[in-house]
């Protein structure tokens, strides 16, 4: 039985989580393999919610699987697909099945996904969502009705330390911190200084919140350029693109793992964050290699 994430956050000096992206379809055997591979190597498995607005197997479903296989799931909830009724209902269900960690996000626009004609909801935004989870934790629903059986979620949220301009983002982070979160998981960061500046800002407002630096390995210059153009909130600096471009053919993945591990080591050694969150989307089976290279195994 995995240790509750809330306890881990308090107890461990360096927390490691990994992202599990649900499949498109109903076949979950591969996902189960990933879960078994990773559940004891990381402190939590974080499941995306129709990531990049591409329709997939639900986050809630994968979280149940993680639970069944003895891992510690973090449920991602975006505001894009559900209104306040649906979100509250899903959270009640999750808690009743032992899913105790929730990551509150705005969600990408449907325009970047594969169902561009869908009506996007955004009944709530991420700050309001955090407030909502606190409301549920207090034993009431948003309308003020008493709940028959409450919930007690560990709440996390996200932030983009490399946004330009940064100030409006920081104001939003401030609002999220004031709403009350136990951990912040950043969007992928590639510049150490950016991360450092960001954590200093957060620490000034909230000393206790845990910050997990987002790590997304990039395995080719082409992929980096694509991500810069198409993935909201990701900014890969030119010097990394150049470094990838110089890697001999066929060694891209190894290079990507090397760069990611280098960043993790630096984060850990300089103690700027409380941990990392690794998103190796579509290559979950290679996450252990990163952990190993970073000296985390």
């Amino acid at each position: 039985m995995a240790r509750p994430f809330r306890e881990i956050l308090e107890a461990k000096s360096f927390v490691v989580t990994a992202e599990a992206a649900p499949v498109k379809g109903s076949s979950v055997s591969k996902t189960i393999e990933h879960i078994t591979l990773l559940k004891d190597k990381v402190d939590g498995l974080n499941v995306t919610d129709n990531q990049s607005s591409v329709m997939r197997y639900p986050s809630l479903g994968i979280c149940l699987l993680i639970k069944e296989h003895g891992g510690e799931p973090v449920l991602q909830v975006t505001c894009r697909d559900r209104n306040r009724l649906a979100i509250q209902a899903d959270l009640l269900f999750a808690y009743s099945r032992g899913i105790n960690n929730v990551l509150c996000l705005t969600g990408d626009s449907v325009d970047v996904g594969d169902h561009k004609e869908a009506k996007q909801v955004f009944d709530l935004d991420s700050v309001q969502l955090i407030h909502l989870v606190h409301t549920l934790n207090s034993g009431k629903d948003m309308a003020g009705n008493e709940l028959d059986g409450g919930v007690d979620f560990c709440i996390g949220t996200t932030a983009t330390p490399s946004a330009d301009p940064l100030e409006p983002q920081l104001i939003k982070v401030e609002k999220k911190l004031k709403a009350g979160v136990s951990f912040i998981q950043t969007q992928a960061v590639y510049e150490f200084d950016e991360l450092k500046r960001f954590t200093e800002f957060v620490r000034n407002i909230d000393e206790k919140v845990k910050i997990l630096a987002g790590i997304v390995p990039v395995i080719s210059a082409k992929m980096a350029a694509y991500m810069n153009d198409n993935v909201p909130g990701i900014f890969i600096p030119q010097h990394l693109i150049d470094e990838l471009a110089q890697a001999p053919k066929g060694t891209g993945i190894a290079k990507g793992i090397e760069i990611a591990a280098r960043m993790i080591r630096q984060v850990k050694e300089e103690g700027v964050c409380d941990g990392v969150h690794i998103m190796f989307i579509g290559r979950e089976e290679r996450v252990p290699e990163i952990l190993e290279a970073a000296g985390l195994l």
């Binding site: 705005t106 309001q128 409006p168 104001i171 709403a179």
Partner: protein
């Protein structure tokens, strides 16, 4: 146009009706556009060897019964009406001439304002629960592509552009800059609770105070 062509396929004589107010200002359904659409239809039909007769008329405001009534004689002459007014005008026509098919020729999409000649940008979503005083006069409900109330999403592009369109400014970056300029950034730090989306019950209705 394809939709209009198909809708008109069955008819040989129609009225193309414009509206002389809002849609004239935004170049969608004034006398000029009526002329162009009618000509386009005639060209299409004559190319297909199936000529169509078009009457053209533009009234001051197609959402006013009295003004639409001027079209009575012309409507009587034709088999169908193609209206270039907004949804309200089309519905006024449809109510006034219940036995005639009335077709909308424009898709009313938003309430906007002109940015320069020939370009209009959506500014107001007519939500009935206005936040403009707190957001530096920039509506986050409409001008943020996600309608977020508490600040920008994480997808903002370099230079403060929107995640869905590199040419569009992030509304929250604009709000930030304006409030900063006014020294009112505290407004942005305030928490705004979930919005009341039922401020306007559909269908909307406004009753002016009776004299």
């Amino acid at each position: 146009m394809e939709e209009i062509k198909q809708a008109m396929a069955l008819y040989k004589k129609i009225l193309v009706a414009g509206c002389g107010t809002c849609v004239t200002v935004c170049w969608a359904g004034g006398e000029k556009e009526v002329g162009i659409l009618a000509s386009q239809l005639r060209l299409a039909r004559s190319a297909a060897g199936n000529d169509i007769v078009t009457l053209e008329a533009t009234v001051e405001r197609q959402c006013e019964n009295e003004m639409v009534a001027e079209l009575k004689d012309k409507v009587a002459e034709v088999e169908a009406v193609l209206s270039l007014a907004c949804g309200s005008g089309v519905q006024t026509m449809a109510t006034m001439f219940e036995d005639k098919p009335i077709f909308p020729a424009v898709n009313t999409t938003f309430i906007g304002m002109p940015e320069k000649e020939g370009l209009w940008v959506e500014m107001c979503g007519a939500c009935g629960d206005c936040y403009l005083d707190r957001t530096g006069g920039i509506c986050p409900m409409v001008r943020c592509s996600k309608g977020l109330l508490n600040g920008p999403c994480g997808g903002t592009r370099k230079g403060g552009k929107c995640e869905i369109d590199p040419d569009k400014d992030c509304a929250w970056v604009l709000i930030y800059r304006r409030l900063e300029r006014q020294g009112r950034l505290d407004l942005m730090r305030e928490y705004y609770a979930p919005k009341n989306f039922r401020a306007v019950k559909r269908p909307g209705k406004i009753q002016a105070a009776k004299a």
